[in-house]
C-alpha cells in the first residue's frame, strides 16, 4: 500500500509542478472567459469614442429620419436646429457621453448643407476633416434616393463591417419610412404591425431557459470532457512509454507488482486532472457569483447559464468514468509499443472513438430523448460525453443515468483487469511492437 501511494505521489507531484500544468490551468479559465466574454465585449464596446458622421442630404427631407435611425431613436443632436452653425462644429460632448459606449448609441450626426455650393467642394472639405480626424465618415444622400439612387458612405475605416452594416440598415429603415409616408401609409400603424415577435423559451420544468447559453453550456461540457479525457489519456500513454523506453519498468517491477503500479499511475494522473478541473470549477463559480454581476453593472450583458450543483457531481463522475476507460486502454497501448510515434498510431482508433462520442453529442443536443441518444449514452466509450450532454439538455430518468454509470464503471474495472495482465508482459518486451494475437496470449497465460 505504501508503495502504491509512492507511485501516486510521484505521478501527482511531478506533473502538477510542470510548467505545462501551471500554464494550462491558468489559460483554461482565461480561454473560457475569452469565449464567452470577449465576444460580448467586442459587440458592445467600440474603442475610440463615438463615430462622427456627417450627412449631406440632397433630397432635402431625409436628414431628420436618417439621423434619428443612426442614433437609434434618441433625440438627434444635430446641427439642424442651428442652421447658422459652421459645418465644422461637433455636437455637445456631454450628450455623447450620456449615450455611453454602447455601440448603437455611439453615433454623432451632423448635417452638412449644400447651400448652393458644388457637391465636390463640400466633399473635399469633408475629406479634409476625415484626414485631420475631426470626422470619421460622411454619408451622401443623392436627390433620387427614394427611387433607386444609391447613397454613399465614405469612411476612414471602410473595413468596419459592423458600422457599415449599421449605416445600411439605418438608411434602409429611414427610406422605407419616408416612402410609406409619401404613399400615404400611416407610419405608426406600420410600425405597430411590423413589431417582431420575441420568442420566450422555457425548459420542461418551467424555468425560463436561456436557449443559446444552455446550448453552449451543453456543448461546452461535452467539449471539456472530450478534451480532458484526451489530454490526460495521452499523459498516461506518454508516461507508460517513457517507463518502457527508459527501462525504468524493470526496476519498478523488481519493487512493486504490476497491478498496483498501473493503478497508482492511473490514479495519480487522475488526481492531477481533478486538481485542474477543480481549479477551473472554482474559477467558474467565482465568476458566476461575482464576475457576471460586475460585468452586467458595466453594461456588458453576457448570458450565463444557471448550473445546478448536481451538475458538478455528474461532471466529475462522467469525467472519471471516461478517464479510467480511455486512460486504461492508453496504458495498454503504451506497454505494447516501443516509441511514442507507434503509440500514436496504435491509439488512433481510441481517439476516433472519443471523437465519435463528441460528434454524436451534436445530434443529441437536438434530440436528447431519441433512441440514438439512449443507446449512445449507454455505450461506455461514448457515455462520458453523450450522457452528460443529455443531462444538461434534458435530464433523462434517473435509472438511465445510474445504468450508464454502472455499465461505464464496470467496463473500466474489466479493462483495468485485462490491462494489468498485458501491461506486465508488454513493459518488459522490447525491440518490436506487440501484435494483437501475442497480446491475447499474454492475457490468457498470465
Amino acid at each position: 500500500m505504501r508503495k502504491f501511494l509512492a507511485v501516486i505521489k510521484r505521478e501527482y507531484i511531478q506533473r502538477v509542478r510542470t510548467k505545462f500544468f501551471v500554464i494550462a490551468t491558468i489559460l483554461g479559465p482565461l480561454m473560457m472567459a475569452g469565449f464567452t466574454i470577449v465576444p460580448a465585449l467586442m459587440f458592445s464596446i467600440k474603442a475610440g469614442g463615438p463615430t462622427r458622421v456627417a450627412v449631406i442630404d440632397q433630397t432635402g427631407k431625409m436628414y431628420q429620419r436618417v439621423a434619428r435611425e443612426l442614433t437609434n431613436g434618441r433625440p438627434v443632436h444635430s446641427s439642424t436646429p442651428q442652421p447658422e452653425s459652421p459645418p465644422g462644429r461637433t455636437n455637445n460632448p456631454n450628450d455623447i457621453d450620456q449615450n455611453g459606449r454602447i455601440f448603437q448609441g455611439s453615433f454623432v450626426v451632423e448635417e452638412v448643407r449644400l447651400d448652393n455650393q458644388p457637391l465636390d467642394q463640400i466633399r473635399r472639405q469633408l475629406d479634409a476633416r476625415i484626414q485631420n480626424k475631426s470626422l470619421d465618415g460622411y454619408i451622401v444622400l443623392p436627390p433620387n434616393l427614394l427611387k433607386d439612387e444609391q447613397p454613399e458612405y465614405r469612411a476612414r475605416n471602410a473595413a468596419d463591417l459592423f458600422t457599415q452594416n449599421y449605416v445600411e440598415n439605418s438608411l434602409s429603415r429611414a427610406v422605407r419610412a419616408q416612402r410609406m409616408v409619401e404613399a400615404n401609409i400611416d407610419e405608426k400603424a406600420v410600425e405597430k404591425m411590423s413589431q417582431p415577435v420575441n420568442l420566450k423559451t422555457t425548459g420542461a420544468s418551467g424555468e425560463e431557459s436561456k436557449g443559446e447559453s444552455s446550448f453552449y453550456f451543453a456543448f461546452g461540457m461535452g467539449l471539456l470532457i472530450y478534451m480532458s479525457v484526451m489530454l490526460y489519456g495521452q499523459f498516461v500513454l506518454g508516461a507508460v512509454i517513457e517507463e518502457k523506453e527508459t527501462r525504468i519498468a524493470e526496476i519498478l517491477f523488481s519493487s512493486i507488482r504490476s497491478f498496483p503500479l498501473m493503478i497508482g499511475k492511473l490514479v495519480g494522473v487522475s488526481l492531477v486532472a481533478l486538481t485542474q478541473l477543480g481549479i477551473w470549477g472554482l474559477a467558474f463559480l467565482l465568476f458566476t457569483l461575482y464576475g457576471v454581476g460586475m460585468l452586467a453593472g458595466r453594461g456588458v450583458d453576457i448570458s450565463w447559464p444557471h448550473i445546478p450543483p448536481m451538475m458538478f457531481v455528474y461532471f466529475v463522475l462522467y469525467f472519471l468514468m471516461g478517464y479510467f476507460i480511455y486512460a486504461t486502454v492508453y496504458a495498454v497501448v503504451g506497454s505494447m509499443v516501443t516509441t511514442t510515434q507507434e503509440g500514436g498510431q496504435l491509439a488512433l482508433p481510441l481517439v476516433l472513438m472519443l471523437v465519435a462520442g463528441f460528434y454524436l453529442s451534436f445530434s443529441i443536443i437536438r434530440s436528447p430523448n431519441s433512441s440514438l441518444a439512449f443507446w449512445a449514452s449507454m455505450f461506455p466509450f461514448f457515455a462520458p460525453i453523450t450522457m452528460l450532454v443529455r443531462i444538461v439538455t434534458e435530464t433523462p430518468p434517473f435509472w438511465q443515468i445510474a445504468l450508464s454509470l454502472v455499465i461505464g464503471f464496470a467496463t473500466a474495472v474489466g479493462l483495468i483487469w485485462l490491462a494489468s495482465r498485458i501491461y506486465r508482459v508488454g513493459m518488459l518486451m522490447t525491440g518490436k511492437k506487440a501484435s494483437i494475437p501475442e497480446v491475447w496470449r499474454w492475457v490468457r497465460q498470465s
Binding site: A6, E245, I248, I251, S254
Partner: protein, 304 residues
C-alpha cells in the same frame, strides 16, 4: 561461512520465449557474503536469469529459492537490482528520484533522506542532487542508478554490467564500493561479459553460454584446475635453448611476452635454470594462470 545456507538457489530453471530458449535447465547456488560472477557473452541468458531471480519474470519450470524461501514479492525488498538497461526519469531531480525508488523499496522518512545524502556524497554526486537526470552524464546516471540498487541496504545486490559506460576513475570507485558491500556481509551477484573484471572481483563464478551452464565453482579452484603449466618470459639473447620437446610443448609470442607452455609434469624451475645457463638476461619470469577468457573459450570449444 562455508556451510551457511545458500542465499540463492536456482534449481533446474528453464525459460522459453516462444521457440527460443533463453535459459535451459540452469542450476546454481550463491553463497552468502560472496561475490558471485555470472559470466558469459552477450545473449547467453544472463539477464533472463537475473530477471527470474528478482521475480519480474517467472520461470516456465524449475525453482527459485531466496534466503531459503520460495520467491515472493515480499522478498523483493531484500534485493537490490541494477539492471543492465538503465533508466531514470529524465525530468525528475536526482534527489527526488532516489527518494521515490527508496520508497518503492519500503524505505521512508528521514532515514531515506539521510541514506540518500550519504550515498550521493560517497559517489561524489552531492552537487547534482537537485539536477534533473537528463543533465547528468551517462556515467553519473549510472552511479545514481547504482544508488537505487543499494539504498535500502539489501542482503542481496544484483549488478548487471555495472561497469559499462564508466571511465577508469569511476570503474575503480565502483569496484571499491562493491568490495565494501561485500565486506559489509552482502551477497553480490555480478553479471558481466568482461571476464577480466570478473576475475578480479569474484569469489565464485558461473559461466553460461547459449542458455546453458558451461561450468561453475570457486574461481581459484577453477583456475587451478585449468592451469596449463605456462610461463610468461621476457629476455634478451638467443632462444635456441627452448627447442627441447622434453620440456617445452609450445611457444607463443604474446606482445612483448614470450609465452612458453611446458609439457605436463615439467617444472618451471628447470626452465629457469636453462635460462640462467644459457646466459640470457631475464627481465620477466612469471607463472601464467589461465584467464577466465581462456577457460571460457576452452570450455565452449569442448562443448562444440
Amino acid at each position: 561461512m562455508e556451510d551457511a545456507k545458500p542465499t540463492l538457489v536456482l534449481d533446474h530453471v528453464t525459460k522459453r520465449y516462444g521457440d527460443f530458449t533463453a535459459v535451459n535447465d540452469l542450476s546454481l547456488q550463491v553463497r552468502p557474503g560472496r561475490v558471485f560472477g555470472l559470466i558469459g557473452p552477450n545473449g547467453a541468458g544472463k539477464t533472463t536469469t537475473i530477471r527470474m531471480i528478482v521475480n519480474i519474470i517467472i520461470p516456465d519450470s524449475g525453482r527459485v529459492e531466496l534466503f531459503g524461501q520460495k520467491m515472493t514479492t515480499a522478498l523483493q525488498d531484500r534485493i537490490g537490482y541494477l539492471p543492465e538497461e538503465r533508466g531514470l526519469y529524465k525530468k525528475m531531480k536526482v534527489g527526488e528520484q532516489l527518494r521515490f525508488f527508496a520508497e518503492l523499496k519500503g524505505l521512508r522518512g528521514k532515514e531515506a533522506d539521510e541514506r540518500i545524502d550519504n550515498w550521493l556524497r560517497k559517489l561524489q554526486l552531492s552537487d547534482w542532487k537537485d539536477k534533473r537526470a537528463k543533465e547528468l552524464s551517462k556515467g553519473m546516471q549510472q552511479k545514481v542508478q547504482f544508488i537505487t540498487a543499494v539504498i535500502h541496504n539489501p542482503d542481496l545486490v544484483i549488478l548487471d554490467e555495472p561497469f559499462s559506460g564508466l571511465d577508469p576513475v569511476n570503474v575503480d570507485l565502483m569496484k571499491e564500493t562493491i568490495q565494501e558491500q561485500k565486506a559489509a556481509g552482502k551477497t553480490i551477484i555480478l553479471s558481466t561479459h568482461q571476464m577480466e573484471i570478473a576475475e578480479k572481483l569474484c569469489d565464485d563464478v558461473c559461466m553460461i553460454n547459449r542458455a546453458h551452464k558451461v561450468l561453475d565453482g570457486r574461481l581459484r579452484e577453477i583456475r587451478r584446475s585449468f592451469s596449463r603449466n605456462a610461463v610468461a618470459l621476457q629476455f634478451e639473447g638467443g632462444d635456441g635453448f627452448l627447442n627441447d620437446p622434453a620440456l617445452v610443448a609450445n611457444i607463443r609470442q604474446n606482445g612483448d611476452d614470450c609465452e612458453v607452455l611446458l609439457v605436463p609434469g615439467a617444472s618451471p624451475q628447470t626452465l629457469l635454470r636453462r635460462l640462467v645457463d644459457a646466459g640470457v638476461a631475464v627481465t620477466k619470469f612469471e607463472l601464467v594462470e589461465p584467464t577466465l577468457h581462456d577457460i571460457f573459450i576452452e570450455k565452449v570449444r569442448e562443448a562444440a
